[in-house]
Each structure stands twice: as structure tokens, then as C-alpha cells.
């Protein structure tokens, strides 16, 4: 059997291989980062609750975008970072605060730029007189990935159960 060793064919074959290899290594569609995003959002939520229990307002606010909205029952929408900070300061201005959540579910967009979390909360508040009450309700959060890869809350919306 005659082997074809024509330089032309060798070069052509070589480039065919290079073409396939080169293209297969080219960046395909963006990587699916949803699992990692979900874990990052969960961790951010835990850190936010810890900061609130520690009454660390600055750290709490670091988990919000620059133009957040906060919806709480029984009050008009709180719009903008200064207004949200003020509302948060009021929330933290109690003797003690214990924040618990349950049944949290997170949906991350395939593109990893937006995510939504919802679930239930139980806020146990001890007021200045030492009286302790627990408010239960539902939360729905809009999270946005920032340029540095961190996740921040764009909309923090709540509805109490009673």
C-alpha cells in the first residue's frame, strides 16, 4: 500500500488537527457558576445575620448594593442606602436581637449576575425594658453579583405572618 507523504497533505492534516484542538480550547459559553454562587449567597446571609446580632451597622450595610430597597410590613418602601441604613439602625437599636431563618431556597440565574432567595424568618427581639417577642414572617431577597465577585442585596422584602 502506498503511503501518501505529500507535504501538502501533511500540512493540511496538521492544520486540521490544530484547528480542532484550538477551537475546542477556545472559551465556550460562560461557565455555570450557580453552585458556587448559591454557597456564596448562603454565606453572605449568615454573615449579615451575625453582623446584625452583633449590632454592627457598617458590616450589615456592606451586604447591600448602593441603591437598595427595603420592604417591611406596616411601613412604606425604604429606598436608597441612607434610608435603608437609618431603618437598619432602628432595627438594631434594641437590647438584643436573634435572627433565624428556615426553608431558604436560592435561584441563581445561569449567567450568575442575579439571584433570588426566599424563605421564612423568626426575629426574636428583646426591647429596652427586657421584654422578648418573636416576629415570624417571610422574606424574599434579590441578590446581585458585584464587579469584585461578591454578592449584595438589591431588594430586601419582608412580610410578617401576623
Amino acid at each position: 500500500m502506498r503511503t501518501n507523504r505529500s507535504p501538502l497533505r501533511v500540512v493540511a492534516a496538521g492544520f486540521a488537527v490544530a484547528l480542532i484542538a484550538g477551537c475546542s480550547q477556545a472559551p465556550g459559553p460562560p461557565m455555570d457558576t450557580r453552585k458556587a454562587d448559591e454557597a456564596a449567597i448562603t454565606a453572605a446571609g449568615v454573615a449579615l445575620a451575625q453582623a446584625a446580632e452583633a449590632k454592627d451597622l457598617d458590616t450589615c450595610m456592606s451586604f447591600y448594593v448602593d441603591d437598595p430597597v427595603l420592604f417591611v410590613p406596616g411601613a412604606p418602601a425604604v429606598i436608597g442606602k441612607d434610608a435603608v441604613r437609618q431603618a437598619f439602625a432602628g432595627f438594631l437599636g434594641v437590647r438584643a436581637l436573634k435572627l433565624e431563618t428556615s426553608g431558604l431556597m436560592i435561584d441563581v440565574a445561569q449567567s450568575g449576575d442575579l439571584a433570588f432567595e426566599r424563605g421564612s424568618y423568626a426575629n426574636t427581639i428583646t426591647d429596652a425594658k427586657g421584654k422578648t417577642t418573636t416576629e415570624t414572617g417571610k422574606l424574599a431577597l434579590v441578590w446581585k453579583k458585584q464587579a469584585d465577585g461578591s454578592w449584595k442585596i438589591a431588594a430586601d422584602t419582608n412580610a410578617s405572618d401576623k
Binding site: 507535504p7 492544520f15 484550538g22 442575579l114 410578617s160
Partner: protein, 188 residues
């Protein structure tokens, strides 16, 4: 212009050009549909508010995905289809009901699979004496694009702007109405 010494080299140069061209076009970014998606969600939200005027549960429920959850004020989260239907049916059964809402903000993910809206609502219903009382508040919704390209709501939450004690949210108002009726019976 370089002169190719052989046909092989010329072919190689051509193939290189072709392969570079092909590869640079290979990872074609998905088209950016965010503006169109946001417009579609805003329209769906407006259509939903218009459909709510019928006060028919089915017309309302058509805007929810099968796995939608409803997070209304003053009652537990509705996660099953039956609970969602019941929550909506109860709301629509408020006497003298009129409810509508307007989108304030809508934003879609780059991947076009998820979006959210929030806005304000106004709800009027009659108290036990038949007097119209008005509630207003804010809502937030998460939407997911369906296989057919339409958008359906998967998370629906709202809460009243009004302080809880003097003017409770819709559901509580319903209970207050019942209480007032009972008090009226006592008076009789």
C-alpha cells in the same frame, strides 16, 4: 506582500487565517436580551393587574408557574398549588374588592432565565358596614422564563404600607370585618 515559496506555505497561511477567524468567532456570546426580557416581564405584570379586575382566581393563577410560592402578609407562605389557589381565592373574595398594581422596577438576568419586579399596589375592599376602605403597599415578584418563552411568576410577596394597628393589611382587615360583624350581633 510576502511571496510564498511553495503552495504548501501559502495553504498553511490561508488555513491559519481561516482557523484564527473561525476560533475568534467560535465562543459567540449569547445575545443580550435583557431589555426585551424586562419589557416582556413589565408587560406581563401589567396584564396580570388588568386580569385581576375579573376577580377570577384562574385569571390570576395563570400568571404563576407551577412551582410558584406566594408570600402574603398576615398568613403563612403558600408553597403548594392548592395553598396558592386558596390564598388567591380568599383575597379575591374580599367584599367590594378592587386591586391593581404598578411596576416600579424590573430587571432581567443576562442569561434571560430569571427576572424580578417590584412596585406598589392599591387595594380597596368593604368593611362590615359596607364602607370602602383602602390599603396600599409594595410588592416584589420573581419571574422565570418558560420553555415557550413566556414569563411566569415564581415568587409573589406583598405587604401593606399602613401601620398594623390602626389599619391592618387586607387579610387582617378581613378578620376585623368578621369581628365587627360579631360585635354587631352582640349589640342586637
Amino acid at each position: 506582500m510576502p511571496r510564498f515559496r511553495s503552495f504548501s506555505l501559502m495553504l498553511a497561511a490561508t488555513l491559519t487565517a481561516v482557523s484564527l477567524g473561525a476560533c475568534s468567532h467560535q465562543p459567540a456570546a449569547l445575545p443580550d436580551t435583557r431589555a426585551a426580557d424586562a419589557a416582556a416581564v413589565q408587560k406581563a405584570d401589567a396584564d396580570w393587574s388588568a386580569a385581576a379586575q375579573s376577580k377570577q382566581a384562574d385569571a390570576w393563577l395563570a400568571y404563576y408557574a407551577d412551582d410558584a410560592v406566594v408570600l402574603p402578609p398576615n398568613e403563612a407562605m403558600a408553597t403548594s398549588k392548592d395553598d396558592v389557589r386558596k390564598s388567591v381565592t380568599d383575597l379575591l373574595a374580599l367584599p367590594g374588592l378592587s386591586v391593581s398594581w404598578q411596576t416600579t422596577k424590573v430587571e432581567a438576568a443576562r442569561s434571560g432565565d430569571l427576572a424580578y419586579t417590584y412596585g406598589t399596589y392599591e387595594l380597596t375592599s368593604n368593611d362590615a358596614q359596607g364602607n370602602a376602605t383602602t390599603d396600599h403597599g409594595k410588592y416584589s415578584e420573581v419571574w422565570r422564563k418558560q420553555a415557550d418563552g413566556s414569563w411566569k411568576c415564581i415568587v409573589d410577596m406583598w405587604s401593606s404600607d399602613l401601620p398594623l394597628a390602626p389599619a391592618p393589611a387586607p387579610k387582617a382587615k378581613h378578620r376585623v370585618a368578621k369581628h365587627s360583624r360579631r360585635r354587631k350581633h352582640h349589640a342586637n
